[in-house]
Amino acid sequence: MKANCWYGKNKLSVETVKDPEILNSRDAIIKISSTAICGSDLHLYNGFIPSMEKGDILGHEFMGEVVEVGRDVKNLKAGDRVVVPFPIACGHCFFCQKQLYSCCENSNPNAPLAEKMWGHSPAGIFGYSHLLGGYAGGQAEYARVPFADVGPLKIDADLSDEQVLFLSDIFPTGYMAAEHCNIQPGDTIAVWGCGPVGLFAIKSSLLLGAERVIAIDRFPYRLRMAREKAGATETINYEELNVLEGLMDLTGGMGPDACIDAVGMECHTPGPIHAYDRMKQAAMLENDRPHALRQAILACRKGGTVSVAGVYSGFIDKVPFGAIMNKALTIKSGQTHVQKYMKPLLERIKKREIDPSFVVTHTLALGEAPNGFQIFNDKEDECVKIILKPGD
């Protein structure tokens, strides 16, 4: 089959590899109909996530048709149309029982590696480094899905791939980020980053009852999309306006009730602070550039919540912890517990409360994946979200 493989920083290639097989009794093989490039894939593309190996198949947002199931998968059969959640979860451990699926204890075969770095290991994730299991990803014609009796969501409704594909990651991720904000009627939420996750966070904040959502980015086309498609009430272009001043102005100095960081480790910011973080990152003195996080902490109103959906990998510095303590802030974060959100969010799609396909700007053949990564990474051609079609 064809698969999009990682060969180093900014080096991808669509290669012919062998087809996946059932390796565990709870596996299923999926023939992929649609697969997407995630913003977090760019961290792999730019070489910021450790423990990648040449030849790793990328991709963790995919859906398709079941072609084969292992002998312990009773709820799926060949021909079923499914969306696959990006974290791999066993369904039986303490964390899965508490619906903290991205914290599954049993799905990361390389757990000791992750434990060295983070103290404990999260769940395995498709195509997202060996630290997170080393599982082959879904930017391919076929994928093997472990614990297929727990993860994949069957889609019977008459909905297009574009409408349901994002249940695999970015819609639940934006939704969980908003849910973490504990939104009360009348709340103001600020969202850093108007990429796909940021857009879903904006939309979800409104679905959950926020009155105002202030979106922050530097690309006019993304800010326009935040206003016109996701429903942001105000936008701030951080290259034109000081974010903290802008937010204080809009909120009468109080600050937003909750702040969502939908940017993560590769944040940009104008001026010398960016150069400072970029240098420290290059010298491996910090893994991540946390500028959006710093701003979110400083901007958030006292007693408010900072919800972190952006991916961070390791150590960051100059984080104003004194502000967290003295302003009585709550920090919520985590890889998304996708399995928990898929069904209720599918219901919202069915009820036409949201049509997730609004984020799609590009549809490419799987063979064009490396090109797609470059366009997405360099924000060319007003790119927001790329879907790859293995069938084309």
Binding site: G55, P109, N110, H130, A140
Partner: protein
Amino acid sequence: MKLDQLSRALGYFSIGLGLAEIVAPRKLGNCIGVNKSYPRLMRFLGLREIAAGVGILSEPKPAGWMSSRVLGDAMDLALLGAAFVPSKNSRGRLATASAMVLGVTALDLLTSRQLTYSKSPGGRDANGDIDWRVKRVIKSIQISRSPEELYQFWRDVTNLPNFMVHLESVSTSTDPRRSHWVAKGPAGKRIEWDAELVQDRKNELISWRTVGKADVRHAGTVQFLRAPGGRGTIVRVTMEYQSPGGVLGIAFARLFGKEPGQQVEDDLRHLKQVIETGLIPTTKGQPAGRPTGTSKKFDRQMAQPQYTVKTY
């Protein structure tokens, strides 16, 4: 002198010497026989001494810091050696200083070695001194099943190869307290031993030890402790290894290419996976844009269990 007293003494010595080097670099240089002193170099050495000293005093088992002292000693000796070259320096004083550093080096080496080999709990005799012959490993894991279920599973020794993936088989003989163990060694070599049940407390504890001529004599205890809050069981394993060479069960580690603590930890993780999910998740055999689906560098090579266990 006990090990921890010795290491503390060396820690204070480090700080004292470091302070002297920083406060009075020229005087100290004169003492050891260096005519033209290098105050900056001396102060740098002082900083190094203080860092090592603080490190040693602030950790319960400062094996790493003690090794850094050994490296520092090597640096000092090299500098002293170089100081013999300029004829203005006093060779007699330099020789005395070198002899003193050599003495301290010996102490540092001994202490760092002992600390390194006593890193895990246990491994000490009744006097608190290191017992060089036994290595003890204690590991535990939470499993979302009842102690009864886990006890029953473990008590049937033929189940063990399902999660102790380095084992080929465990079989019982006519004597129900005896079992025969076959493990995969390096280069396809098989390692075999007999074990006997020492204690068997239903739903609580099982302990066993090797009998007769075993390549590596060892004894193990597994406890099944009820976890609070309905969280199932905390399975706690204590293993003691003794090898004929006398060096702390390291031979045993080499048999399986792993440090014994890591081996026990992996076994317990696999037990949890088998019991909670019915399988050990693997990536061995998956596709990739390279010859093998797994990564030699990052992926842990997992042998597959034989699935005699039921899916729970």
